[in-house]
Amino acid sequence: MTAEQAVAPVTAETIEDALLSFLAERVKTSVTPDQDLFSSGLVSSMFAMQLVVHLEEAYDIAIIGPELKLDNFRTVQAMTGLVLRLHDASADASADASDAVGDV
């Protein structure tokens, strides 16, 4: 990757907007950020796993261990928080790794 490549910044706003568009396209209904997607019946147990895979691929994160639970996918807000947490943690790890290389 080069500095010239335009990369959309990963912020709460961009994640939320992308998720709302993704859901509108896939469940054919517009949802609100705080809407419970499961209790409203919009999202099935099968689609829940597709959401996991979608977020992992879209943001290059791994949703594993205690983070892999339904409460993290219940609302767009919860998913946004999850992506930010994991993305920030992964960015910190990358920064540490590049520091280490720089010291050599």
């Binding site: 896939r26 054919k28 019946g41 099935s44 147990s45 099968m46 829940a48 796993m49 597709q50 996991v52 895979v53 594993i64 892999l68 639970k69 339904l70 996918f73």
Partner: protein, 287 residues
């Protein structure tokens, strides 16, 4: 056979949708599994699918707490299941395929080993003629996804022994499943009802009476089905559905079970449902 899951060795035959579902259920409940298929490519894909299904089970909170996961071995040889404590057959829903596999495996395992078929529609009494000991054979119709849906349909054939019924009941209890037992008939209870319903739903779409979304929306919204018939069809796999409808049609002559043109066309095009990413609905990716 001990009551500890680790004392068991389950052989699961067939690495498709149901084979990987049942394997996920078994290893998540601590049972060691030998998964057999005729294709290394299918087994490689099955290992990935099972890993993803285990994540799905965790996501949905259905993994039993504090139970060590059972080991998974994959194999292309039925010789590797000789010491199995129970066999679960989940190969393609075609009589000639099941006959071959069941005959071979029943000759390899020890007498008294529970032989379970996850057949969708083929009568257990018919299958009992293919195995060495018909008394050891019982039908268990696991649902899809097997690791999420607790209820299973158990089919007792006329030759199924009481010992086999006790063994299968113990096994299903250890797997955290609830069983309802029915007598033998083509399609048993669930698919005798479900498959003609799905076929009729597809005919309605084909005739332009309503879209797939509307058909499913009506059964979900008005009749309280948690998943409409066409979404269910995509989950089952349209190739498997056509095979099962053929089994029902050949054995009962019920015209509502003759696979409709829309279903046959989708199968010809390779649009088999979720497993290929498209069926009555577009899933965007293979799911």
């Amino acid at each position: 056979m001990g009551t500890d899951q680790a004392d068991h060795r389950l052989a699961i035959l067939g690495g498709g949708v149901m084979g990987t579902n049942i394997t996920t259920l078994a290893i998540s409940h601590g049972f060691p599994v030998v998964l057999v298929d005729v294709s290394e490519a299918v087994l490689a894909r099955a290992r990935e699918t099972i890993a993803q299904k285990l994540r799905h089970a965790q996501l949905m909170g259905t993994l039993p707490p504090d139970r060590p996961r059972g080991g998974l071995v994959t194999s292309m040889s039925l010789d590797d299941v000789a010491d199995a404590t129970a066999v679960i057959e989940a190969v393609t829903e075609r009589a000639e395929t099941k006959a071959k596999v069941l005959a071979e495996v029943s000759a390899v395992v020890r007498p008294g080993t529970t032989l379970i078929s996850n057949t969708s529609c083929i009568p257990i009494d018919e299958m009992a003629t293919w195995v060495v000991r018909g008394a050891d054979l019982v039908g268990v119709h696991f649902m899809n996804p097997s690791y999420l849906i607790k209820m299973v349909e158990v089919i007792r054939g006329s030759r199924t022994s009481e010992t086999t019924m006790e063994a299968v009941t113990d096994l299903l209890t250890s797997l955290g499943r609830q069983a309802l037992v029915v007598r033998d008939a083509p399609g048993f209870v669930i698919n005798r009802l479900l498959h003609p319903l799905i076929n009729s739903a597809a005919m309605l779409v084909d005739e332009g009476v309503a879209s797939a979304e509307v058909v499913d929306g009506l059964l979900e919204g008005c009749l309280g089905h948690s998943t409409g018939p066409l979404r269910t069809a995509d989950l089952i796999g349209l190739d498997n559905l056509v095979d099962s409808l053929n089994v029902l049609y050949e054995r009962r002559g019920d015209e509502s079970c003759r696979p409709c043109e829309l279903l046959l066309g989708k199968v010809r095009e390779g649009n088999l449902g979720r497993k290929t990413g498209r069926g009555f609905y577009d899933y965007g990716r293979v799911a």
